[in-house]
Subunit: 301 residues, 2 copies
């Protein structure tokens, strides 16, 4: 039986249709600033995707080509400009830890990618709102959020339930600060038990009690055991060294998703899975646009 | 002529003598919490230095051995405890970008190492005070601060001047987020022109106009030219690949300092320099203790 292959572009289009309507109703035109240093490669591609996404939903996009030393002043200018509603930086800028400094320099209220440490803390502490009145919904990082929305489209979670992933077992291969670790935390905050694999070894993310944040535990589980138990497998491994996941390692009812640009699944796994989601790209930009709308709405609450 | 070799232990003792008196006068006993994961190597050594430093100046030190997953809850507990005045984390904990998350999780008012992004922003923006009344002095990261105090002890700067390093040329080999980059910024905020070398190439830090923050510029200057012009040379290169600085590369009136544990100067340079400062260790702990006192005093302003 062929797996159901989900096209993230189609799922993105559904979200964009809604965004288009809501954005058109706003009293002012939303504007994003994009800061691009390397005018080629993945950064350029992501910037082009952003341009298309903005055009598609009616958001103004001011893409600025800047030298690396121009990024910091450009962030300060965008932070200070009330006409700018969101800032996107196309990393790497310096390609060192200094990029972390830039990431936190963006005003968290304009951080539509949800990468600021303020949003990270909300996520890891499972604070779904960030105001005392519990009206302003916290911003989630756009790639992990895209993954969750794609899992929902695959019928792998029940978005209306209190714990949409209760009882589900998930394997995530990647524990980066940008995608893998926040993703594992979000999945377990939503009820899943998550085995997070990385070159540093596995960690277990388990749901917290009654709305509390997830807990993280050491584990010695191996890949074979974790995959055999997994309802959902998520990969994002950019390395050549990674041994692609094979059909004999997963179950027939597994939902498999890859957010890396490198193939992380062997054909035998792609054929055996119930659902295969080969990429998330268009959904990431769409979630950034959704975050833009949410931050604008929050600013007026 | 033999160079003047400065013993950081002696300089530290002068600061500790002052600290001892001021700390004894406080209405309560200062208490630090140290979180140690790896019970061996440089972390253990630094923790032992902290213990000695605390004993020496009359600060209580609660050194806690914790597993890596215990660091986050221990930080939250220390943040919440009004009896704890400072928190030290002995990195690496995870050894990944996740350590950056932990670093910013420490309450900036208890971050006696001055590593929090709040303090980094004060430093890079040259904001010497962080309250509207301009009474609360900003905290500086303890290793770069130790370097500045050692340069002062070497007679290489005039601490009472408005721009203590005006007209001085400095070379810094290391541009890490923890030491080299903040150090270059501090030196140029104090008037120096700094060539910052790193594997990513050189950058030029120049003083800002009239109290404004320094500016950073691209440069193509090479090591030979920069060293020949340098009044002060500072190294912190942990790599074997680094070609040690030789006597023929520096001037006879140069002040040389090494904050790495690896020898970064050839004997010919050590012999030729006017002043040689071989390490900073004891001063780093002392500056952390000084920051503890300052944060306590700030909290009561």
């Amino acid at each position: 039986m062929q797996p159901l292959v989900i096209d993230p572009g189609q799922v993105a289009e559904k979200f964009r249709a809604e965004l288009r309507i809501e954005i058109a109703r706003l009293p002012e035109r939303l504007k994003l600033v994009g800061l691009l240093v390397a005018d080629h490669g993945p950064s350029r591609t992501y910037a082009e995707y952003t341009q298309k996404g903005c055009d598609d939903v009616g958001v103004q996009f001011d893409l600025q080509a800047v030298p690396r030393l121009g990024v910091e002043p450009a962030i300060r200018a965008a932070n200070a400009d009330p006409g700018v509603h969101g800032v996107l930086i196309y990393y790497p800028v310096f390609g060192t830890e200094q990029d972390g400094y830039l990431r936190d320099l963006v005003d968290s209220n304009k951080d539509i990618e949800g990468l600021h440490s303020f949003w990270a803390r909300c996520l890891y502490e499972n604070r779904r709102f960030y105001d005392a009145a519990q009206k302003k919904k916290s911003i989630l990082p756009c790639t992990p959020l895209a993954v969750l929305k794609l899992l929902e489209a695959a019928g792998a979670l029940d978005a209306n339930a209190k714990a949409p992933l209760a009882g589900r077992r998930v394997c995530v291969f990647n524990r980066s600060e940008v995608v893998g670790r926040p993703l594992a935390a979000m999945l377990s905050n939503d009820g899943a038990e998550v085995v997070s694999f990385d070159i540093d070894g596995p960690l277990l993310f388990v749901p917290g009690r009654a709305g509390l944040a997830h807990e993280v535990r050491e584990t010695t589980i191996d890949r074979r055991t974790a995959l055999a138990a997994a309802d959902i497998v998520i990969t994002g491994v950019p390395s050549r060294e990674f041994e692609r996941i094979r059909g004999d390692e997963i179950r027939e009812d597994t939902v498999c998703l890859n957010f890396s640009t490198r193939a992380n699944y062997d054909d035998s796994a792609v054929q055996k899975a119930r659902v295969f989601i080969p990429r998330v790209g268009p959904m990431t930009v769409t979630m950034a646009l959704r975050n833009t709308l949410r931050l604008y709405q929050n600013s007026r609450l």
